[in-house]
């Protein structure tokens, strides 16, 4: 890390911020870079609304200090629409009405994408387990579970073709 700057890749762009930047990654993304699709719900690592992808792994951006991302690759919902899995999930979330206010949705999709990357045919209980760190206060979770299951099926069909 250079003395006075934090450099990282944000959604494919090289960016930098002063090393004096305090606070967590969630605030940095939202307020410095205007990537407001990442939401802040609890600031305690409980709700998953702030989930982003850091070097390929889903992390809580509210628990990740801005200084920790030096040299990392960060991806947020804004960028991931071009990803097959994310697009399939987004389509399924719309088709199943798996969101209401949408505040939890970007974080939920991050988690679901990670699940599907490791398990192409998750059972309902596996899906429920996987999203157990993502709070949705509006839906009854059922539509979300169905949407993730649908997306998995779509992706399997695409892989077969």
């Amino acid at each position: 890390m250079s003395e006075d700057t934090i450099r990282f890749t944000l959604n494919g762009r090289d960016v930098s911020v002063p090393a004096t930047t305090r606070g967590h990654l969630g605030d940095l993304l939202r307020h410095e870079f205007g990537e407001t699709g990442t939401h802040i719900g609890c600031e305690h690592g409980v709700c998953g609304a702030c989930n982003v992808v850091m070097d390929g792994v889903v992390v809580r951006s509210c628990l990740t200090l801005a200084v920790q991302v030096d040299g990392a690759e960060i991806e947020t919902i804004e960028h991931l629409g071009s990803d097959h899995d994310v697009a399939a999930l987004q389509n399924a979330f719309v088709a199943r009405n798996a969101f209401q206010c949408g505040y939890c949705t970007p974080g939920m999709i991050m988690t679901a994408r990670e699940l599907l990357a490791g398990n192409t045919a998750p059972r309902r209980e596996e899906i429920r387990d996987a999203i157990s760190g993502n709070l949705c206060r509006c839906t009854g979770y059922q539509a979300i579970v169905e949407a993730i299951s649908d997306a998995a099926e779509t992706l399997r069909e695409m892989a077969d073709e």
């Binding site: 939401h39 719900g41 629409g81 429920r128 009854g140 979770y141």
Partner: protein
């Protein structure tokens, strides 16, 4: 008077083709893509941020405030206390004239001499960033004298209680009775009398997006613009005008995307009013986003109540009488502007609502406490009433020796008794379908098999329970309620429909949407009336600068009232267009219909599409044969006349297993059969019900604002205040009975609260059913593992 559909358009024709279709919310796709615009996503040039210094004690007197050190900090612009803000902003005075005996102290935006709950706002520190404001707030010195406090309901009502606010010498804020003065006859002649005490923990709504506001007073134009995560922008315009002494017309309130609301964002809060007043004081845009701890300690709380209930039944199980007392915890101030009494009143009045209960008496008292103010949360009192009623029904069924489902069936009410205008408790009920709901429910759950399985497992020491909850929900609550209370609240919902020259439609509605999908459903309904694609209808909402006057979102009103307003606007728009087309096509308007956005005449497609009609009326009106240009913008507003509200109903059932050694509850299956009248979009309605049920399960099993004895909030994080997560929630099977309300042509009754009203009662009765072989019962919600174990152990000790 019930509204009759007008003769020319028989009712079935008014209900559009699109009604009932499970259409996805394409217009909300941007939320899934992270392109929403919630209030914290908005930034204005020159915007400042607030951090509040909040009261550390349940009750305290402010001796002095020193802000000099805070003002020295970099980026700090101002540190404003209650006295300074009082120069430009009046305190909330929340004493609706129509509620006799209601008493609440005035609540200033920042406490002046006395603060009455932990978390009350005291000083607003304003800085270039929130972080700078927070750092500086740490340096504000407040000299406090801690005062004696009354926190629990029991404490508040004791004779020796400390006064919650120095302007009163006791803590009673409301005292009211529903029904008869004396019901002793019914009890004297009963075959069985059952009695139980109840307690309900304090909860809060926990929207995933916390409250937030941006206020911008423009000193040059003398105009105030407010962006607020809120349900009722029109109400807030009136509130800010009244508190700041401004003309309502100089204020615009916008509710952008809102990350959940559930009643919590129906109120006017001291901190948000302070943010607006600070903007007025400084002439700069101010942003204030509530953090999670502030959210727990200052959002509207709800549900805290104690109750006792007696029920008298005859030897066959018919209810002869109900006698109840409900004590409700109001918190330190009545929530502005609607007060805190709604929950208490509905908790008492709605006891027994689904049933013919014979003699009825319910007394209700509301108590001031040194805790956060309580206000509306999804269901408002009805979940309490439902839980009390359903537990009493089960107790009575056991006393009589009949099946609990049968006990419900024989007591259901379907209409008001002949010659009456209301039930004994004063409820105006249109028509209920509980019988049909229960029959469908029992079939769906295969009730007999479940009971047989339950009995077999009990032999092996496995305790499963089956619980029912029948509910009546008051929806679309309107002027008939608020007007007489003296609350200046528009409760009608409006639609302003415009035909654009390109043939697309714009619907500006007073209804607001915090995720329910109401706007998509309204667009679907309108598109259906003209047989066009939903994306041809542009919805505008949540903006007093752009929408017609009306309510917003509460009491499940979106489709029930807003849908009817939209439908009526469509009918008038269509009538006008058909007049024009009839002239062109030389036929009667009644011979015309819309098909795929085109007017169909006697000879089939006419070429008169909406786009052609738009262009004709806007650009070439001289070509209209009659010479009469119909209005291209139509405004309709709807409120059912002579009905204070609409009544929806339904029945819930849950199957669960209690581990009598661990005290845990596993939810195995959940069913609901709901009658919300006409269902415009089942995809939205069904998950709305499920979401409500999950919140009700949270109430039953996990959620409680835990205060220490001296009024300190002890579990103010989402790690400590437990809400339902996906892993513990059951599959929820939803079905419907459809009885359209006669109050409107559309027939929708509303569904927003139905899940939350019924679920706590269903879970309560199921747990008590599971524990019945152990002779154990739970009475205090939430039914945590600890409380369940205590109940089991208490029963063992009795043996």
């Amino acid at each position: 008077m019930l509204l009759k559909p007008c003769a020319r358009w028989p009712m079935n024709k008014l209900v559009s083709k699109a009604v009932g279709a499970p259409m996805p919310r394409e217009s909300a796709r941007l939320l899934v893509e992270g392109r929403g615009s919630y209030v914290d996503d908005i930034a204005l040039p020159g915007m400042l941020h607030i951090a509040f210094v909040r009261a550390p004690f349940a009750h305290g007197r402010i001796l002095c405030i020193e802000t000099a050190d805070a003002l020295q900090m970099p980026g700090v612009v101002a540190a404003i206390d209650g006295k300074e803000l009082a120069e430009i902003c009046a305190p909330f005075d929340t004493n609706p004239p129509g509620v006799p005996g209601h008493a609440s102290a005035p609540q200033p935006p920042l406490a002046i001499e006395e603060s009455c709950f932990q978390g009350e706002t005291v000083v607003a520190v304003v800085a270039e960033s929130r972080a700078a404001a927070e750092d500086a707030a740490e340096l504000v010195f407040v000299d406090w004298e801690e005062l004696p406090a009354a926190c629990s309901i029991a404490e508040a009502q004791s004779d020796s209680a400390a006064a919650v606010h120095s302007s009163f010498d006791n803590n009673l804020s409301l005292h009211h009775r529903f029904g008869a003065e004396d019901v002793s006859d019914a009890f004297e002649n009963a075959a069985h009398v059952v009695e139980e005490s109840f307690a309900f923990g304090r909860q809060t709504g926990v929207t995933l997006e916390p409250r937030g506001i941006i206020a911008h007073w423009d000193p040059r134009a003398e105009e105030l613009e407010v962006w607020q995560s809120h349900q009722v922008p029109w109400q807030m315009r009136e509130v800010y005008a009244a508190q700041l002494g401004l003309s309502p017309q100089s204020i615009r309130v916008v509710a952008p995307d809102v990350g959940g609301a559930f009643g919590l964002k129906l109120h006017a809060y001291a901190d948000e009013l302070a943010a607006v007043a600070v903007s007025k004081r400084l002439g700069r845009p101010i942003k204030y986003i509530v953090d999670r701890l502030e959210s727990f300690t200052s959002d509207a709380h709800a549900r805290e109540a104690k109750a006792t209930c007696r029920m008298a039944v005859d030897s066959e199980g018919h209810i002869l009488g109900i006698d109840a007392v409900v004590d409700s915890g109001f918190g330190a101030y009545a929530m502005h502007p609607r007060g805190s009494f709604g929950e208490a009143m509905q908790a008492a009045q709605m006891i027994g609502a689904p049933y013919k209960v014979g003699a009825f008496r319910a007394e209700v008292r509301g108590w001031r406490q040194n805790k956060a103010p309580s206000g509306a949360y999804r269901g408002v009192g009805q979940p309490i009433a439902c839980a009390i009623t359903e537990d009493m029904i089960d107790l009575a069924a056991r006393a009589v020796g009949i099946d609990p489902a049968e006990m419900r069936r024989i007591n259901y009410r379907s209409t008001l008794d002949e010659g009456t205008r209301a039930t004994q408790s004063g409820l105006v009920i249109e028509e209920l379908s509980l019988d049909a709901c229960l029959a469908k429910l029992m079939e769906a759950m295969d009730y007999k098999t479940l009971r047989a399985g339950q009995a077999a497992l009990r032999e092996n020491g496995i305790y499963r329970g089956i619980g029912f909850a029948s509910f009546v929900e008051l929806t679309g609550v309107g002027a008939g309620l608020y007007g007489p209370l003296g609350l200046p609240l528009a409760a009608n919902e409006s639609c302003r429909l415009t035909l654009q020259p390109d043939g697309s439609l714009t619907c500006a509605t007073s209804v607001t949407d915090q995720g329910q999908g109401t706007l998509s459903a309204l667009g679907q309904l309108i598109a259906g009336e003209f047989d066009i694609a939903p994306n041809m209808v542009r919805m505008i909402s949540g903006d007093t600068g752009r929408t017609p006057y009306g309510g917003g979102a509460w009491a499940s009103r979106g489709m029930a009232l807003g849908g009817e307003a939209a439908r009526r606007a469509c009918v008038r728009m269509r009538d006008g267009l058909f007049e024009v087309a009839a002239g062109v096509l030389q036929c009667e308007p009644s011979a015309l219909a819309f098909d795929n956005g085109e007017i169909i005449g006697l000879k089939g497609p006419s070429g008169l599409t909406l786009a052609e009609m738009g262009a004709l009326c806007h650009y070439r009106p001289y070509d209209i044969p009659t010479g009469q240009v119909p209005p291209m913008t139509i405004e309709e507003s709807f409120l059912p006349l002579n009905l204070p509200y609409i009544t929806s109903n339904g029945v819930h059932a849950v199957h669960l297993e209690v581990d009598s050694e661990l005290g845990t509850v596993e939810l195995l299956d959940y069913w609901v059969v709901d009658d919300c009248g006409t269902v415009v979009n089942p995809l939205l309605v069904d998950e709305q019900l499920r979401g409500g049920i999950v919140q009700g399960i949270g109430a039953a099993l996990y959620e409680e604002c835990v205060y220490s004895e001296d009024g300190q909030f002890t579990n103010g994080t989402l790690a400590d205040y437990v809400v339902p997560m996906a892993g513990e929630m059951p599959a929820i099977h939803v079905d419907h009975i459809t009885t359209p309300t006669r109050a409107s042509g559309l027939g929708a009754k509303g569904v927003g609260e139905a899940g939350t009203v019924g679920a706590p009662g269903a879970v309560r009765t199921a747990i008590n059913d599971a524990l019945s072989p152990l002779a154990a019962r739970v009475a205090k919600q939430p039914f945590t593992t600890r409380r369940i174990l205590e109940a089991v152990m208490a029963a063992e000790n009795l043996e």
